[in-house]
């Protein structure tokens, strides 16, 4: 099904109507797109009624956690929250598996929501009951992004349901699959990237083979590559990396096991008539195949230090296949997947490893590829951090718009953590009523929401920018603004500018003209 980005701008009356209705404590009007999303949560419960026990022994609490849905237009919806924070009002005619629905419409922009909506998020403490924080599945939902669409990965409701399964498993982890270490943060060097690719290739081969002995041989390769990769790493980093594999890997494993359970026989509760993007998991194999594709793609990525999703998942799948009962270790307390494998499989000696890595995986070519990439990344980093002058920083945080949806993936870029370096500049970015002209100057995007460019010739300029606008509010907020700088032009319905001699910060405060 070809999806198209749909956006319909509504007039002010709806916004006023929503605000008024909230102010009067009347039930807010909930768009159909949101109702469909609620049906997906209900279908997630239906899926887990079938699959949860097969995913992990004792997983029964998946209906106990509230959902907070943050929509692109500012609408927020709470499902099943025992004590909704101020601003949320009940939506009495809506229930999700018997659970109450509340909405907060105070910050709704006049942007109509239409499916397909896609999301991401995590677990957060939201609100309290009797002094105890409430663990909540916190999801941000936006329009299906064009660059995802271009890759041929069409929107499917099943992916959204699997996302909800994933997040609900994170809730289960809190008490049952403990991960005592914080997130792994590491910028790969040549050695890390090379042995990391061998780890991934070994997991891939182990998963592909039907021969248990061959699978165990490949898992031994995985362990050997891991030992070599971690030779120069601090103990803390090693544990943080393994911890991430438990945290994210078992959550991805929950998706795969859910799909495997569905394949055995599943009765959908939701129908395509109610959600046109839902295929009732009839092609579960297609979805299962995606996890293998992701592993194949991720393993070769030089700069991805967060391979924990795929590597953790496939370690868990192989433990399940080769050593059923492996989850018992996690019932006793914190445990690591790689350590569970290590308990069952010996690491081969160094001499045989080097030869096998070259013969089976082509290690030297892998190492050379990563060496070149790391050199280029480091050069790009040195280049961008050496640029001194006047900085222009554009923030999309106030409108909760991630930049990743708009970056031109065909442009050359390098990543270090959340910093993306575009040596030849960032192309145009346009969405709703916001228009960034793009620039050919080296540019960084950072911290998900920000664009930064530095004007090294700033001393030769008369003024840092020219600004036209319809209306001004306070000292620094401008409506329907056109900001022209020596490096780029930005048009937006509402911006705030804070400037000193060396730094111009522009926050985009609205995406739609009101």
């Amino acid at each position: 099904m070809k999806t198209q980005m749909k956006i319909v701008v509504l007039g002010l009356p709806l916004l006023l109507a929503l605000s008024l209705s909230a102010a009067q404590d009347k039930a807010p009007e909930i768009p159909d797109a949101v109702k469909i999303e609620l049906l997906r949560i209900e279908e997630t419960y239906n899926v887990l009624d079938l699959a949860a026990a097969r995913v992990w022994p004792g997983w029964t609490d998946y209906k106990d956690y509230p959902f907070l849905l943050n929509f692109e237009n500012g609408l927020r919806v709470l499902v099943g929250h025992p004590n909704p924070p101020e601003g949320f009002v009940p939506v009495p005619d809506l229930k999700v598996a018997g659970k109450a629905v509340h909405a907060d419409v105070r910050k709704v922009e006049p942007l109509r929501l239409e499916q397909p909506l896609t999301g991401g998020g995590g677990i957060t403490s939201y609100g309290e009951l009797n002094g105890k924080p409430i663990q909540t599945v916190d999801i941000s939902l936006g329009r299906f992004k064009p660059n995802v669409e271009m890759s041929g990965d069409h929107y499917r409701t099943e992916n959204q349901i699997l996302l909800y399964v994933h997040e609900l498993f994170h809730c289960f982890q809190k008490e049952h699959v403990q991960v005592p270490y914080p997130n792994f943060r590491y910028n790969p060097d040549t050695g890390f990237a090379s042995y990391s690719e061998i780890e991934g290739a070994a997991l891939e081969k182990a998963h592909q083979t039907a021969d248990p002995q061959e699978a165990k041989r490949c898992l031994a390769d995985f362990l050997a590559a891991r030992a070599l990769k971690r030779k120069d790493m601090e103990e803390y980093d090693r544990r943080a990396e393994s911890g991430d594999e438990v945290r994210e890997g078992t959550a991805v494993y929950s998706e795969v096991r859910t799909l495997e359970a569905i394949k055995q026989g599943f009765k959908p509760g939701l129908t395509p008539a109610r959600d046109p993007y839902y295929g009732e998991f009839k092609d579960a194999d297609t979805f299962l195949g995606r996890y293998r594709e992701r592993l194949a793609k991720t393993k070769a990525d030089t700069f991805n230090y967060l391979k924990c999703y795929e590597y953790g998942c496939f370690q868990a799948l192989l433990l399940q296949r080769l050593f059923p009962g492996w989850q018992e270790a996690f019932a006793a307390g914190p445990a690591f997947l790689d350590e569970e494998i290590r308990k069952r499989i010996a690491i081969p000696d160094d001499a045989s490893v080097a030869k096998r890595f070259e013969d089976v995986y082509g290690f030297n070519a892998i190492q050379e590829r990563h060496r070149k990439a790391v050199e280029q990344r480091d050069a790009a980093y040195r280049m961008i951090t050496a640029r001194e002058g006047r900085s222009y920083i554009i923030s999309l945080k106030p409108i909760r718009q991630y930049l990743s949806g708009f970056e031109d993936k065909t442009r050359k870029s390098w990543s270090i953590g959340l910093m993306y370096i575009f040596p030849d500049g960032l192309g145009p970015v346009a969405f709703d009523d916001v228009d960034f002209s793009g620039t050919t100057i080296p540019t960084e995007t950072n911290q998900l929401f920000y664009v930064k460019v530095v004007d090294t010739d700033w001393k030769t300029r008369d003024k840092p920018y020219a600004l036209s606008f319809d209306k001004k509010e306070g000292d620094d907020v401008y409506f329907n603004a056109v900001l022209t700088t020596p490096l780029f032009t930005l048009k937006a319905p509402k911006i705030r500018i804070r400037a000193d001699e060396r730094r111009i910060k522009i926050s985009i405060l609205a995406r739609i003209k009101s």
Partner: protein
């Protein structure tokens, strides 16, 4: 002679008691934090003596002991504690020499440029005459807006100790560098009320307020700077 022996004995017995009764600085605070639509209120208590401190905030207790080079973070509810070394922070390595593997640019540490403004406005808060300062910290991907009500009255019992303690606590804290800038130039200054709006790079806006309710010099409860017996030590995992 008998009387002299009796007096000496009394002094002997009183001397340790006199030591225990040394006046330390004692402060009570009231804080609130508004984050993700939720306001959390916390009452705090602080004891300060030379080289040691005891802080209770909500359910957590922190004891700092310079003589032992450690700080204990105690969770009385769980009967456990963590131990951290107290050490001078090493100067940050220059970027050019940084290990690229550990250059965690996703763990963003804002480098704020601070602007401080003395508004000249005055009022009494918790019985202290205060002066209002505004501070703004601007970093590339974060900012902080703060209001500090500062008392500069000389000879306030505990005032100097509180100032020095706070300065010691915040010297490496980039988010508090605005406070440090105000306090370090004023020998008698201590903060009576602070209100900070913190706009982090990714996380939602956080608004936090802390008010000093009471400040005095008083004898600290016996053994308050010691690690309570019977606690289980747990590993610090960052």
């Amino acid at each position: 002679m008998k009387r002299m022996v009796g007096l000496l004995a009394l002094i002997f017995w009183l001397w340790p008691a006199g030591l225990a009764a040394r006046a330390d600085t004692h402060a009570l605070t009231s804080s609130s934090r508004f984050y993700m639509d939720q306001e959390r209120k916390t009452e705090g208590e602080l004891w300060i003596a030379p080289g040691r401190s005891w802080t209770k905030s909500g359910n957590r207790i922190l004891i700092s002991r310079e003589d032992l080079g450690v700080m204990w973070s105690i969770d009385p509810g769980r009967g456990s504690y963590m131990e951290f070394p107290l050490k001078e922070t090493e100067p940050a390595a220059a970027k050019a020499q940084a290990d690229m593997r550990k250059l965690w640019l996703d763990y963003y540490l804002p480098e704020y440029d601070w602007t401080i403004r003395d508004t000249g406005e005055t009022k009494d808060i918790s019985g202290f005459p205060c002066r209002r300062f505004e501070a703004r910290g601007e970093a590339d991907f974060a900012d902080i807006k703060a209001i500090y009500w500062i008392s500069e009255s000389p000879n306030v019992p505990g005032g100097r100790a509180l100032r020095d303690y706070v300065l010691g606590q915040i010297k490496e804290d980039r988010q508090r560098a605005g406070q440090a800038k105000i306090l370090s130039g004023r020998a008698n200054a201590f903060i009576v009320l602070r209100e900070e709006t913190i706009e982090n790079s990714i996380a939602p806006t956080m608004i936090q307020k802390t008010a000093l309710i009471k400040l005095e010099e008083a004898p600290a409860p016996a053994g308050i700077y010691d690690l309570p017996a019977g606690l289980k030590k747990i590993e610090d995992r960052g």
